[in-house]
Symmetry: D2
Subunit: 358 residues, 4 copies
Amino acid sequence: MAGNSFGQFFKLTSFGESHGKAVGGVIEGVMPGLELDMDFIQGELNRRRPGQSAITTPRDEKDKVELLSGVLDGKATGTPIGFVIWNADQRSKDYGNIQDVYRPSHADYTYQSKYGIRDHRGGGRSSARETIARVVAGAIAKLILKKYGVEIAAYTSQVGGIKLEKSYQELDLTKIESNIVRCPDEEVADKMIEYIDQVRRDKDSVGGVITCVVKNAPIGLGEPVFDKFHAQMGKAMLGINAVKGFEYGLGFKATELKGSQHNDEFYMDGDQIRTKTNRSGGVQGGITNGEDVYMNVAFKPIATILKEQNTVNKQGEEIVSTVKGRHDPCVLPRAVPIVEAMAAMVMVDMIYLNKMYS
Amino acid sequence: MAGNSFGQFFKLTSFGESHGKAVGGVIEGVMPGLELDMDFIQGELNRRRPGQSAITTPRDEKDKVELLSGVLDGKATGTPIGFVIWNADQRSKDYGNIQDVYRPSHADYTYQSKYGIRDHRGGGRSSARETIARVVAGAIAKLILKKYGVEIAAYTSQVGGIKLEKSYQELDLTKIESNIVRCPDEEVADKMIEYIDQVRRDKDSVGGVITCVVKNAPIGLGEPVFDKFHAQMGKAMLGINAVKGFEYGLGFKATELKGSQHNDEFYMDGDQIRTKTNRSGGVQGGITNGEDVYMNVAFKPIATILKEQNTVNKQGEEIVSTVKGRHDPCVLPRAVPIVEAMAAMVMVDMIYLNKMYS
Amino acid sequence: MAGNSFGQFFKLTSFGESHGKAVGGVIEGVMPGLELDMDFIQGELNRRRPGQSAITTPRDEKDKVELLSGVLDGKATGTPIGFVIWNADQRSKDYGNIQDVYRPSHADYTYQSKYGIRDHRGGGRSSARETIARVVAGAIAKLILKKYGVEIAAYTSQVGGIKLEKSYQELDLTKIESNIVRCPDEEVADKMIEYIDQVRRDKDSVGGVITCVVKNAPIGLGEPVFDKFHAQMGKAMLGINAVKGFEYGLGFKATELKGSQHNDEFYMDGDQIRTKTNRSGGVQGGITNGEDVYMNVAFKPIATILKEQNTVNKQGEEIVSTVKGRHDPCVLPRAVPIVEAMAAMVMVDMIYLNKMYS
Amino acid sequence: MAGNSFGQFFKLTSFGESHGKAVGGVIEGVMPGLELDMDFIQGELNRRRPGQSAITTPRDEKDKVELLSGVLDGKATGTPIGFVIWNADQRSKDYGNIQDVYRPSHADYTYQSKYGIRDHRGGGRSSARETIARVVAGAIAKLILKKYGVEIAAYTSQVGGIKLEKSYQELDLTKIESNIVRCPDEEVADKMIEYIDQVRRDKDSVGGVITCVVKNAPIGLGEPVFDKFHAQMGKAMLGINAVKGFEYGLGFKATELKGSQHNDEFYMDGDQIRTKTNRSGGVQGGITNGEDVYMNVAFKPIATILKEQNTVNKQGEEIVSTVKGRHDPCVLPRAVPIVEAMAAMVMVDMIYLNKMYS
């Protein structure tokens, strides 16, 4: 299997399955001398953790991160940071009955086809548990971004058909953590929570959209041909489990506009060149222009539902499958920190690359 | 500047600006012995070429490709293929008046900020002329894909508010080239053409959507963590000029569905495991499952319009800018072969990588 | 810090300092289904371990490897293998007196200059303890090579001025492990051991040469321009601590010969094309030709000696330094498995890449 | 074929065979604003050119470089520089008789085995003509290094058994170009020239050693685990045609010394930490320490000799082969600028990477 690393200079290489001994990884490119605020890092993990609310899976995985290297007296030495999170609550028995079943829209069949073997215990590498490593690396990336004044905030902007119509400018982003669905508009959040709860009772799942905003992005990030800022950001987001689409700025809505409606005119804000509008989402020609970056990430309803479904097994028999176990009916609340983590890693990586032009 | 290469094993490294001597590149990873059908390669370039119809820019750039290496008696030797396309019709005078102007929503300002210097003659590397190299590499990738039976077809499915409502299964994809807007539905195509013509007369531009379909994709392509099939495909598409969004399968529409509505149930088609529906777009867990891959690519209206716009110049003065020159009011018809080229390159790259598991 | 990964397809990413909690890494590219013979892997670690003989450092580090992922029922699943080796016996006190001292020919000064911070406890990443991760990855690479019939054997061919004059063809390579210096000629081995013991008593250190032989290398490995077989092998060996030179085939001796003396004439060995001589060391034009690969790796005497030396400290004062602690007078016996590990990793990586041409 | 790129940030991707239309490449990572001194670049190519003296092959290839992109008004724009050198004097007839012959110690057999096809006209990619692209990129790298005050000088220090015994400190490196063999000691140079001439008359070839010195290397270059300074430099040198070995500092001679004889003691040179001796060759722990870097590159006698040799052909018949054509009896004088070019590229690449720590 290839593709277990993300980033070029700030780089995460991750390992681990949901039912092995541990998940973890190696983080390269942490600035020597950076204070590694363990409370912050663990706090980010807690935001991703299952069992944190009534609408997420009741597995209480704890997920305590342990740094194994690259640290001296609480500061990064610049050498790679190896880390592990032990898999305390494995309960692989729960998955025993699905060992030979190809669950609809799961990775079971494609893994088996590609590798000729698969870890049936909870999905192996396709398990969302793999994203723990991303949150650890993303938390450290956020600590680096603080030095540059860059802020990243993501929130749930849609669950099923329930859409937050307000733009990010109209919202108070400090309220994201004030409810369990991580939507900063209390009224919409209540509807989302109610809907997710209904879906859970129906033994079903539901998709949605996460919006991510990057404020104070330095001007000049991104490489303007194949590695455009948004191409790298898009790849990062499309690499998260269950993501089906990515857009930035006006995104798909821009397709209906004329140039005269979409172009962002420049003006002078004192000595600073700015744009009057920001339909471009902070990126022009693949390079950041200093305005806010904003983007949407589309999540499908996760494949695991507790309803009966028709499917086939490894023996090529058509069967009816029922999945047991504990599963999130809606992955979005817990995916918010993952989206932020990916954005943070991309930002740090590009900031590093940009130093070469200075 | 980094990021001028695309692909890992089938790899294009491109160079060239719109007003330098030539654009071109180096293609690595071409199978030894492959017949290099020059008529096909040139034909693909002709599809991208300006001046091919009433609705594209009247520059007649010819764009004859010349292979400089890697070929012996019409066959690839396996060594890198260097190629150039000379910039015959440069007319850099047309751009003289905009040397110091930051055109709204263009790459002028971000390039200047990042590099401290920019090639004002036609946009430098941000010029769509750079995509010539992609079409050459994509054409060779298509020749390789023929050996694997893989077919790629893209078409214009939306221009401004005019949307082709039919799915790709309801269309005759052999009709894509039957009209100048490259929409396989004649009736919708006529509306699109009429609309683009109106926009052109208004000195404006318009965006839209290109849909791309990959048939007969081998099972097992894609690396399931950071380098998921669709993450790599998404990065490829987001790297095309003017792209604002990417989705595959049901994409953003999937966000409104429940798992029971979105999941693709498996069944046995003779000896072959297939899915009854294909909402997943041929990808599950980041790996192709053998069903058709389909995806949408969102293009904004291109920034260059012939209307007056408010902007600033390098001296920090607020000015009114008018652009002259020859420009496409709608980039989509000519972007169709570019979308196909990127898809073809991704496919070959992943097929190569997959050989390591055989 | 960059450069903690080795290999492209069979890839090790390592972490860990001598005095952190653990050293370890992530291994990607292990074939699904491979039996992970833990006794063999641990056995390779034991060959590298300090304290194994009278002429190596008496630290008994044990170095038990623990695999954290990528394994199911004793077989590789193909997913990345995370592993750790805990640092049981740290005794960082021993190094306390050298915290501010730049030890001559050590990495102290260059680390401090590059990173502005350094882990003084035993050398940080420059510690030979980092090589544990290489031996683990190399052991798994050897398990893969067994499937291809490839055999790798390294041995100590020189210690100080004591040189093994016999070529590898004249030696019985099964005797490498029969003595503590890992020289397959008993008589020469005895001299080496005696000399190392003398050097140890003199509180000094001594260098030497390790010869490495690869038998049954498949024909066609290596990429003939920048990534020639021997260029990749050379980089691998030069990346081992204390290495000052690399040569393959006749190496530096070839410089004195004429073409008519150095060329290897081809002949037919039944149906097989072979060379009568093998001065080329199994590589022609950067690609393996099926003959044995052989190469020499030059090790300097390690910098840590227990004698007094003149040096300076961080404060810029000229001082006399004395190092305490437990150190190998000659690194070569323990470096033999490291040389083999690097060679094994390179071989597997190239075999994988070559599959793309099949 | 993979492996046609060298460098990570300052990167050359090369293409071209000796008998195709052209050789050339793409250079990425040139600083925006750099003056591209074409006389200097062409001058470097002239140093590599055949036919420049009585002891090199009489082909007069001219080798005029043409830059196709990345330049505006004589300055680099920062975008990739595409370049070509046309193959004017191809005369492929000369090689007609060897189409099916596997020349001893040539790449013919290994290419055919690996790719199943080969360009018999002059060796294809294994032709030394490929190195033209390296010299172009190296010349631009040298222009960048001038801004950092870094100087690189290589010279022929051995031809066959004739060795220049003086160290680089004892030589006047400004005299390298004063004779056709590029040895800065006139007396030794005369012997080398006489010997090469004798070898040429004997229809034979001869090997030798090139020494390369880097002065004013910044402190802190190199990544101390797998990508040590000397590991990257070694890979660069081992990637040059006909190279069989690499050493830096005392190299293989260091193997005979004790630590107390080899260690470089630090002292204060005013405010600057320096080493009294420089046996390490300017590198400690894989990182440059600010002292001069020096290294030796071993070249075998080139395989092409005009004498009769026993060999086999593609049909598996044992034959006697005679090669015609024009060939260098000793590759070293023309390889001097290639060694310098590789060293320059490595230096720029590492200087760029190091900016990330600033």
